[in-house]
């Protein structure tokens, strides 16, 4: 059993958010397979980056309102 499966086993055993984490693991592996550790880092940073962008826009609006 390769590393993918071993980690997947552990995810499946999680009580909380197993589906979401499974999907995240798949995405992470795909990025890793293509571009190694940097690919994985960029994928994760990109995803939280999108949330942060939204956060920045909202915060800016709130600053203007206040």
């Amino acid at each position: 059993m390769g590393y993918r499966e071993k980690v997947l086993d552990k995810i499946n055993a999680m009580e909380h958010r197993a589906d979401e984490r499974r999907f995240l693991w798949q995405t992470l592996i795909n990025s890793f397979e293509q571009e190694g550790a940097d690919g994985a880092a960029n994928e994760l940073a990109g995803r939280i980056g999108k949330v942060q962008e939204r956060f920045d826009t909202l915060l800016e609006k709130l600053e203007e309102m206040a």
């Binding site: 995810i11 999680m14 190694g36 939280i48 942060q52 956060f55 909202l58 309102m65 206040a66």
Partner: protein, 724 residues
């Protein structure tokens, strides 16, 4: 199990044309200096089996980043590697091809099964896994020991060594993914977002507190001004504004402004502007009010009259003073005529005295000459005679001297004295006359000044002033008229001023209420911000980020646990073989056996390896580079042995295994390999002639030796084969 029987390499890395290798002996040696193609031969087997999986960052091997497949001197053609294996059902041929010159060219893989079935593409790739059940990591762990792996183990840096051991154990994917997770710095990003939200909250809180303080202060002021609590409403503010507008209109009427239109604010937002409007209009109405204008005109006229009056009085005073001084002088010393008479009198007397003095001087001269003649010219004997007639005069000189002393001299002196007195008096009279002239000029100037003031008064009163008329009285009369007019206007103005003052008082109270309400509004705006959908969405984005970080954290834990479990499993399976091989090769007197342990680095989740001697001591400080190499070899051999039952490949490949080994260790390694050769096909690449010699002489199995004697860019490796 699958034995490697043949390898055909064309255009792959150091190879230009096609080169074939037969692995028809239990042991195959690839010998030669560095950069002759030995490692490329072993890499070709790897690439044939795993393709892109053995290239790039994901392998965890630094040298595999931007690893070139095609020979860089070839302009066209194909890279092709064919590996033939003898398996349970016959010969399996695997060919992997790629176009030269295109870095990211698609690979073509073909698998030819013993029954003649040919598979290509994904089918072929899947078949490879079905046949060999091996990932690239597994292959690296237990079949092919790379020289890069040994090189990495030899580093002193613990983090790099842990990296290398993970790679040796086939755990690079865990490690690399964990590094990727760490490198993404998600917690930092989340902390930053939380921090900025908190900063925003604090700013809002500070604003609320400041506004609360301002409201409290203004309320205190308002209550002190007599504004009741119930008045702090928008409606009350508007009502008061309406009242003020009414008062302004009434003021306008009082001040005589016709057609004045009062402005009444309709909404609370207009009140600030309304307050400014009230101030501006009040000032304007006041400035243009007839009473006020009249009052200003009267005051200006009054100012104009007071000044010439004062000047006239001053001029008059000066004239009176000059006259008095002259009169006093004339009374004391006489007028011009008297003074001129006195001067002339003195002049006449001085003339008379001059005549007397001349006469007296003539006589005196005569006496003086006669005395001198008698003293100096006439001899002593003749001094008793008159110098004129010669008569006897024995006492002539004495008589002359007595006359001189008693009469002539004193007479002259007296006359001189009288003359001096007369002259002195003359000077006095001259001086008095000059003084009188000055007093007369002063009086004339004072009179002239009075006339100027009189003309100024006439001009101010805008009328002629006759000689019979008293200008001061005229002025005083006009000033009294002005005073009476001012008094009557002043009363009216006072009343209007009181109304304005009252208006300003109301305006001040309105300002206070307005300020309170504005602060309350600002406060409400800030509070409302925290109920907006944007705020909700902000919280949701923070929740999402936090959730994401928590998910990744969970993955990280799973990765770390899986990696640790696998490491522990592999170490456990290989530990006795590891110990056996290490002790066989190294024979370190201070290390009676080697135990390897693994733990999780709590900060990163990565595996952290440590060694212990069987006696419990830490051997790391005394492990040499050669010892570390032996450890790497022992681990590889130990894992190969541990996985022997499940291993599909019947061969082991070692690339330059004797880095940093001394002669003794090389001999021991050869002994170990002799033992392994009984169970596995060995393919060993080495540039080390000593090791080659030991292998040739001490491995009892038959060997094929490929000598890599040279390399050219046009021809690639020059390889010859010998047997033993």
């Amino acid at each position: 199990m699958f034995e490697l029987i043949r390898l055909r390499v064309c255009g792959f890395r150091g190879f230009v044309g096609e080169q074939e290798f037969s692995f028809d002996r239990p042991v195959t040696l690839l010998c030669g200096e560095n950069h002759r193609g030995k490692s490329s031969t072993l890499n070709a087997v790897e690439w044939c089996l795993f393709g892109d999986k053995c290239i790039g960052k994901k392998t965890g091997i630094r040298e595999r980043v931007d690893w070139e497949i095609a020979n860089r001197y070839l302009q066209e053609g194909e890279v092709a590697v064919t590996a033939e294996f003898k398996g349970p059902k016959g010969t399996y041929r695997i060919t992997r091809e790629q176009s030269v010159g295109r870095r990211r060219a698609a690979q073509k893989v073909t698998v030819l099964l013993p029954d003649g079935t040919q598979l290509q593409g994904d089918e072929a790739e899947n078949m490879l896994y079905v046949l060999f059940r091996s990932s690239f990591q597994d292959f690296m762990t237990a079949v092919y020991q790379h020289q890069e792996a040994i090189r990495a183990i030899l580093t002193q840096e613990p983090r790099e060594r842990n990296d290398a051991i993970d790679r040796l154990l086939g755990l690079s994917p865990y490690r690399e993914i964990l590094k990727g997770i760490i490198g993404a710095r998600l917690e930092e990003t989340l902390t930053n977002m939380e921090g900025r939200r908190e900063d925003f909250r604090k700013r809002c809180e500070q604003a609320i507190r400041t506004l609360d303080n301002l409201i409290r202060e203004e309320r205190g002021k308002a209550i002190a001004e007599g504004i009741p609590e119930e008045a702090f409403t928008e409606q009350e503010a508007l009502n008061r504004a309406a009242g003020i507008a009414e008062a302004v209109k009434y003021l306008a009427e009082e001040l005589g402004a016709v057609d004045f239109k009062a402005r009444v604010p309709v909404t609370f937002g207009e009140i600030a502007e309304f307050r400014e409007w009230v101030k501006t209009q009040t000032d304007r109405l006041w400035a243009q009010a007839p009473d006020v204008l009249k009052q200003e005109t009267l005051a200006a006229e009054q100012q104009k009259l007071v000044i010439p009056k004062g000047r006239y009085e001053e001029a008059k005073g000066a004239e009176t003073a000059a006259q008095a001084e002259k009169d006093k002088f004339v009374g004391q010393f006489g007028d011009e005529v008297a003074l001129v008479e006195a001067i002339e009198q003195q002049q006449r007397e001085i003339e008379q005295l001059d005549g007397q003095i001349r006469k007296t001087n003539a006589k005196a001269n005569l006496v003086r000459e006669a005395m001198r003649y008698l003293k100096e010219v006439v001899p002593d004997a003749e001094r008793g005679r008159c110098p004129l007639c010669g008569a006897d005069a024995p006492r002539l000189l004495a008589h002359l001297e007595t006359e001189w002393e008693q009469k002539v001299k004193s007479q002259v002196e007296e006359l001189e004295q009288q003359k001096r007195e007369r002259q002195s008096k003359l000077e006095d009279f001259d001086s008095l006359r000059d003084k009188l002239g000055t007093l007369e000029r002063n009086l004339k100037n004072a009179r002239s000044g009075c006339e100027d003031c009189l003309r100024a008064i006439a001009q101010t009163l805008r009328r002629e002033i006759g000689k019979e008329e008293d200008p001061l009285a005229l002025l005083s009369r006009r000033l009294e008229q002005i005073a009476r007019e001012q008094e009557s206007i002043g009363e009216a103005i006072s009343k209007k001023r009181a109304n304005i003052s009252d208006l300003y008082d109301k305006l001040g109270k309105l300002r206070t209420i307005d300020e309170i309400l504005v602060h309350q509004q600002k406060r409400a705006v800030i509070e409302r911000v925290w109920e907006t959908k944007e705020l909700l969405e902000l919280e949701e984005s923070l929740n999402e980020a936090s959730q994401f970080v928590e998910d990744v954290r969970a993955l990280r834990t799973a990765l770390a646990e899986a990696s640790l479990e696998e490491a522990e499993g592999k170490i456990h399976s290989a530990e006795s073989a590891l110990d056996k091989y290490f002790c066989s090769i190294v024979k370190h007197p201070a290390i009676p056996g080697l135990v390897m342990e693994v733990a999780e680095d709590s900060r990163t989740g990565l595996n952290s390896y440590s060694f212990k001697s069987k006696d419990g001591t830490d051997p790391t400080p005394i492990l040499s580079q050669g010892d570390l190499n032996c450890f790497a070899l022992s681990l590889f051999l130990g894992l190969s042995e541990a996985t022997a039952d499940t291993q599909r490949f019947a061969f082991l490949m070692l690339d330059d295994p004797t880095q940093s080994l001394g002669p003794e260790m090389k001999r021991e390694l050869v002994s170990v390999l002799e033992d392994i050769a009984n169970r596995r096909e060995l393919i060993i690449a080495t540039p080390d002639p000593e090791f080659k010699s030991l292998l040739t002489t001490h491995i009892t199995k038959t060997k094929a030796v490929y000598n890599f004697t040279g390399w050219t860019d046009k021809g690639g490796p020059q390889v010859t084969r010998t047997m033993s």
